[in-house]
């Protein structure tokens, strides 16, 4: 099962390698990892998507807490969190297909951020099912290049950490 966890760490040099090293050392699989600063510049937030059962999740959480630089770790299940991901997709396009691609972009509220003779680049964001759905539809045109930021998430409601 996939879990989305949020890790608040001290914004210190080496902290990313401490976290990623921990995952590889202990044999936990990272599907994606997104990291950036938070409202407090001294803290960073990592959003990590991992594969594992409940007991893996428990071990991961505890091992993360064991890192001296870790302030907080929590699980953000889809029903309790806003989860989103940003994607840039460069899709093969011609006179003939451009209109159809534009239509798909509209349906998924993607932005067309670049148009060239033989390609169009779409900027798309949303949760996993939306992003996966869009990519699936675009595949038939030929995706030349694709980049995903990895998921980021915040808990719903007015609660703060």
């Amino acid at each position: 099962m996939k879990h989305t966890i949020s890790v608040i760490v001290e914004n210190k040099p080496g902290v990313l390698s401490r976290v990623s090293g921990l995952f590889s050392r202990r044999g936990f699989n990272i599907e994606s990892l997104a990291v950036g600063t938070t409202e407090d510049p001294n803290m960073s937030r990592m959003t990590i998507v991992v594969e594992g059962d409940e007991s893996d999740l428990e071990q991961i959480t505890k091992q993360l807490y064991k890192l001296i630089d870790t302030l907080k770790v929590f699980d953000l299940p889809a029903e309790k969190a806003i989860q989103t991901e940003l994607v840039l997709a460069k899709v093969a396009a011609s006179e003939k297909t451009r209109a159809e691609i534009t239509q798909i972009a509209e349906i998924f509220r993607a932005k067309i951020v670049d148009v060239a003779e033989t390609s169009m680049t779409l900027e798309l964001s949303g949760d996993e099912s939306k992003v996966d759905g869009a990519i699936k539809l675009l595949t038939k045109f030929g995706i030349k290049e694709l980049v995903r930021t990895g998921k980021i998430a915040l808990q719903r409601g007015s609660a703060e950490l």
């Binding site: 001290e10 040099p13 080496g14 390698s17 090293g21 071990q59 001296i68 630089d69």
Partner: protein, 559 residues
């Protein structure tokens, strides 16, 4: 006060109460050694290999309970420390390792003697630092000592570039540590404690399984009190040796791969297992699904990540072992004796005692340990070991009654640990009788540390159980690999007596059983330099009981 980084480091160590460090100089730490030339408040012991410095600091920490400190230069000096850092990490030993680093402008350029020390030590230390601004130095030192000794103890590495040592700044040592992301929980949760109390009260066949956490928490007295109040037999791990007096009727000795038969039977049969400061290591549990299969498990540990890591736990209690045990002692009522259970254990003890066969004319290694115990038991003695059969026999055939009297490399199983660790222990406890039980393989791995011992007139006793083999590996080859003694024969060993002599230590050789006692007495009488006794012992003696890897711990080979 205006100081250079080097002076500030020494001042900070002094402020932390450090009185001894083990180190070895080199290019980038020259400014620090120069500062030491003037400031001698912290005693520096020159070792002969950086691995020796790390193990000495570790042995010192285990013998005293204080933080051990070691020091090395950048690159090869630092990489030589790493085995010792990993060793301390696996056994949760408080240590601060200071390494020099190339100057900050040279970092990341493959400069001469540059190694990425924070990168290398990340997975083998509790935490590490690379100091990039001299102003951070006092805070980092303060934090490092705090982290090393608090919570679950462990080694902390501080990497200091050369220019940091020479930069002047306004020094002030912080009097408080504040690391918002590091607040180890020490009080056990009251609800968990009362659940544990009930489980103890209800148990018919309880066993306590105590590990090194009892020793690092200085909780041996509490362990004894709880065990006696509730009549619970106690088995210890290799790391837990000394946490409970083996002379007590409640003692089961060690459990696991080379545990006593009665400890392994008791754990397999118990209905309540109280794990205290232990981590369900594979050498302890054997086939994990068959470990304590009928037991409810209480697990008390300072490290939340240990709970549920290897086995499912019914009643976890996270907290300082000493505090949790105190709370339990206060809560549990006195228990009736588990007559049947105690009787059952007595029967196992009668049927399957720890034993070995004497053979005429040949010294049995176990006999050397027993004789050493006879002669040393009434003295303030610390037993240190190397790794292999020597270590297991020393664990089994010496009877330990006090914490910090057993010093051995548990988690990493580092050959070459014993001699430098014995040095460290003797520095920490100058009046103690320190004995290093060694194998002829292990002793050669850090033999250069004999110089450190000789130069400092350390009267350590090195008792080599010389079987001309890498004995423990040979044992596995005999029992599991059809006696294919592939590369385990050490028949070309050098003459260890001459080696001792060349180093300026006393060397003796003993070949007959009747000479063992006299030689030990003679060794004990020497108090101004190290003694190495080369006991020529039975070559193919095995350590029994032995749980073959992957088996359940009650499926052991007893002889």
């Amino acid at each position: 006060m205006e100081l250079t980084g080097a002076q500030a480091l020494l001042e900070s160590l002094h402020n932390e109460g450090v009185d001894i460090i083990f180190g070895y100089p080199g290019g980038v730490v020259l400014p620090l050694y120069d500062a030491m030339f003037a400031d001698k408040r912290v005693k520096h012991i020159l070792v002969r290999h950086e691995q020796g410095a790390a193990h000495a600091a570790d042995g010192y920490a285990r013998a005293t309970g204080k933080v051990g400190v070691c020091l090395a230069t950048s690159g090869p000096g630092a990489t030589n420390l790493t085995t010792g850092i990993a060793n301390a990490h696996m056994d949760s030993i408080p240590m601060v390792a200071i390494t020099g680093q190339v100057a900050t402008p040279l970092l990341g350029r493959d400069s001469f003697q540059e190694a990425d020390v924070t990168g290398i030590t990340m997975p083998i230390s509790k935490h590490n630092y690379l100091i990039k601004k001299v102003e951070d130095l006092p805070r980092v030192i303060k934090e490092a000592f705090h982290i090393a000794r608090s919570g679950r103890p462990g080694p902390v590495v501080i990497d200091i570039p050369k220019d940091i040592f020479t930069t002047k700044f306004d020094y002030k040592y912080p009097d408080k540590v504040d690391i918002p992301s590091y607040k180890p929980r020490t009080e056990g949760h009251p609800k968990q404690i009362s659940m544990a109390t009930k489980a103890i009260q209800a148990a018919k066949k309880p066993v306590i399984y105590a590990g090194g956490g009892v020793i690092s928490a200085n909780a041996a007295n509490e362990l004894k009190e709880l065990a006696e109040k509730c009549n619970v037999p106690v088995t210890t791990t290799l790391m837990g040796i000394g946490a409970f007096p083996e002379t007590s009727a409640l003692s089961l000795g060690m459990l696991g791969m080379h545990g006593t038969a009665y400890a392994n039977y008791a754990v397999t049969d118990c209905d309540l297992l109280i794990a205290i400061g232990a981590r369900f290591d594979d050498r302890v549990t054997g086939h994990i699904a068959k470990f304590a299969p009928n037991a409810k498990i209480i697990h008390i540990d300072i490290d939340p990540a240990e709970i549920g890591k290897n086995v499912r736990v019914d009643i976890p209690i996270v907290g300082d072992v000493k505090k949790v045990l105190r709370a339990l002692i206060d809560k549990v009522g006195p228990k009736e004796k588990h007559v049947q259970w105690v009787e059952q254990i007595e029967e196992w003890k009668r049927k399957f005692p720890l034993a070995y066969k004497q053979e005429g004319g040949i010294i049995k290694p176990q006999y050397v340990i027993e004789q050493a115990h006879e002669l040393a038991k009434d003295r303030d003695t610390i037993i240190v070991t190397e790794v292999g059969q020597n270590q297991m026999w020393a664990a089994m055939f010496y009877k330990y009654t006090k914490p910090r009297t057993w010093i051995s490399s548990g988690g990493l199983g580092t050959m070459g640990y014993g001699l430098p660790a014995a040095n460290g222990a003797q520095f920490g406890r100058p009046d103690a009788l320190v004995i290093d039980f060694a194998g002829d393989g292990s002793i050669q791995m850090n033999i250069q540390e004999l110089t450190t011992a000789v130069n400092n007139r350390l009267p350590i006793k090195i008792f080599v159980l010389n079987n001309c083999f890498l004995g423990m590996v040979r044992q596995w080859q005999e029992l599991i690999y059809d006696r294919h003694y592939s590369h385990t024969n050490l028949c070309n060993n050098p003459d260890l007596v001459k080696i001792a002599d060349a180093y300026g230590a006393v060397g003796m050789r003993v070949t007959k059983p009747e000479e063992v006692r006299g030689a030990i007495e003679k060794a004990f009488a020497i108090n101004d330099r190290p003694v190495l006794v080369d006991f020529v012992v039975a070559k193919e003696e095995n350590v029994f009981p032995f749980v073959p890897p992957g088996q359940a711990i009650n499926e052991m080979l007893i002889d």
